[in-house]
Amino acid sequence: MLKFLFTVIRRDVLLAGRRRGDWLTAQFFFVMVVSMFPLGIGPEPGMLRTIGPGVVWVAALLASLLSLDRLFADDYRDGTLEQMLLSPSPIALLTLGKAIAHWIINGIPLLLIAPLLGIQFNLPAEALWMLVLSLAIGTPILSLLGSIGAALTLGLRGGGALVTLLIMPLYVPALIFGAGAVEGVLSGTGSEAHLSLLGAFLMMSLLLAPWVSAMALRVSVE
C-alpha cells in the first residue's frame, strides 16, 4: 500500500524532472504576479506591508491552479491513468500520491521563493517566517483540493478554466487563515488561532480529498 503511494510520488517527481519547462512555468508565474504589485501600486512601505501577505497568498493560489489541470490530463491522454486505475491498489491512494507529488513539485518551491518576494513588500523577519509557515501548512491544501477539480474536469474541453471556477471557492478558507496568520504577526494580535484553523483544514482535506477525487476520477474515466 505505502509502496504504491511512494511509487506514484516518485514517478511524478521523475516525470516533472524530465519536463522542467512545464514545471518552471508555474514558479515564474508566481514570481511575476507578486512582483507586479509593488510596481503597479508604487513604493509606499505602509501600503505594501498591508497588502503583502494577501498578494503572496493569492499568487500562490493562482500558481497552483495553473499546474493543476495537467495533474491527471497527461496520464489520461497516454493511457497510463487507465493502467494505474486498474492496479490492485485503492484509487484513493493514487489520488493522494498525485496530490502529494503536486505539492512537492509545485508547493515546496513556492515556500522557498516566498520569503524573497516578501522582502519586496517590506515585511519584517517574523512576518516572513510566518508567511513560510502558513504556506507550508496551506499549499498542501491547495494540491489536495485541486486534485478534486482536476479529476472532475478530466477530459472536458476547456477543463483548465473550469478547474479554476470550481476550486477557487474551496480555496477561500485557506486564503483567509493563511494570509490572516501573517497579518496577525504584523498587527501584533498573534496568529495561533489562524494557524490552528489552517491546520484543521489541512487535516480535513487530507482525510476527504483523496476519496472524493477518486470517485470523480472513476466517473470521468468511464
Binding site: 509502496k3 504504491f4 511509487t7 506514484v8 514517478r11 521523475l14 516525470l15 524530465r18 519536463r19 491522454r77 497516454d78 493511457g79 497510463t80 487507465e82 493502467q83 494505474m84 486505475l85 486498474l86 492496479s87 490492485p88 491498489s89 485503492p90 474515466v221 468511464e222
Partner: protein, 205 residues
C-alpha cells in the same frame, strides 16, 4: 474463471448492446467481433472494470468485479487503444514503473529480456518520445509479457505493427493461452493462432 451475464451498455443514450454473456475458463480465448462503433471497446472496458455496465454483471473467480478490485488488478492485464507509455521515460523505465505500480518488482534482466523479445534491444535507453508508433506498441506488449497476468484483455493489439510484429503477437497470445492463460481480444485483421480456435462473441447486431 471469467463470466459475464446479461451485459448491456449505453453510449450517449444509444443502446450499444444488451443481454450479452459468456464464460471463459483457463486455456481459452475469446475473440470479440463487430463493426466500427458497435461497442467492442466499450465491452472490453466493462470487462476490465474501467466502466460499469448499465445492466448485468462481470464475475472473476465467482466474485463481481466491484468486490474483486485488488485480486483482479493483480491477475488481469489490459492493453487499450492508448499504449500506457510515458513519452519522457525510456522503455526500460516504463516497464519497471508500471510493474512497481502493480506491486511487483521487475529486475533489469527480466525487463531487458522482454524488450529484446519484442525487438527493441537497440532502443532501450531512448525516451519513448523518439520511438515510432509501432515501436511504442511493442513497449506496451513487452509490458503485457512482464505483467505475469492470468487474463489478457487486448483491444486491437495488432494496430501499428508490421508483418513480423503481427506474427509475434499471435505467437504471444497462443503461448499465453496454451500455458493456461485467458485472452479476450478484438481485431479487424485475421488472426492466426496456429491450432487454437478462439470462441467468438459478436456485439451490436
Amino acid at each position: 474463471m471469467l463470466s459475464a451475464n446479461g451485459l448491456a451498455c449505453e453510449r450517449g443514450e444509444r443502446l450499444l448492446f444488451r443481454n450479452l454473456g459468456f464464460e471463459l475458463g483457463r486455456g481459452e480465448a475469446l475473440l470479440v467481433v463487430g463493426g466500427n462503433g458497435r461497442g467492442k471497446t466499450s465491452l472490453l472496458r466493462i470487462l476490465c472494470g474501467l466502466s460499469a455496465p448499465v445492466a448485468g454483471v462481470v464475475r472473476w473467480r465467482g466474485d463481481p468485479l466491484s468486490k474483486a478490485h485488488e485480486q483482479y488488478g493483480r491477475e488481469m492485464a489490459y492493453l487499450g487503444h492508448a499504449n500506457g507509455i510515458k513519452d519522457d521515460l525510456t522503455p526500460m523505465e516504463n516497464l519497471r514503473i508500471a510493474a512497481a505500480l502493480n506491486g511487483r518488482e521487475l529486475d533489469i534482466g527480466t525487463a531487458t529480456a522482454a524488450l529484446e523479445r519484442v525487438g527493441l534491444s537497440r532502443c532501450m535507453d531512448f525516451p519513448a518520445r523518439v520511438l515510432s508508433f509501432g515501436q511504442r506498441r511493442r513497449v506496451a506488449l513487452a509490458g503485457l509479457m512482464t505483467a505475469g497476468a492470468l487474463l489478457w484483455i487486448l483491444d486491437e493489439p495488432l494496430t501499428g505493427l508490421d508483418v513480423e510484429g503481427v506474427a509475434m503477437v499471435e505467437r504471444m497470445i497462443r503461448d499465453h493461452v496454451v500455458a493456461g492463460g485467458l485472452a479476450i481480444m478484438t481485431t479487424h485483421q485475421p488472426l492466426a493462432l496456429d491450432g487454437l480456435t478462439p470462441q467468438t462473441l459478436s456485439v451490436g447486431e
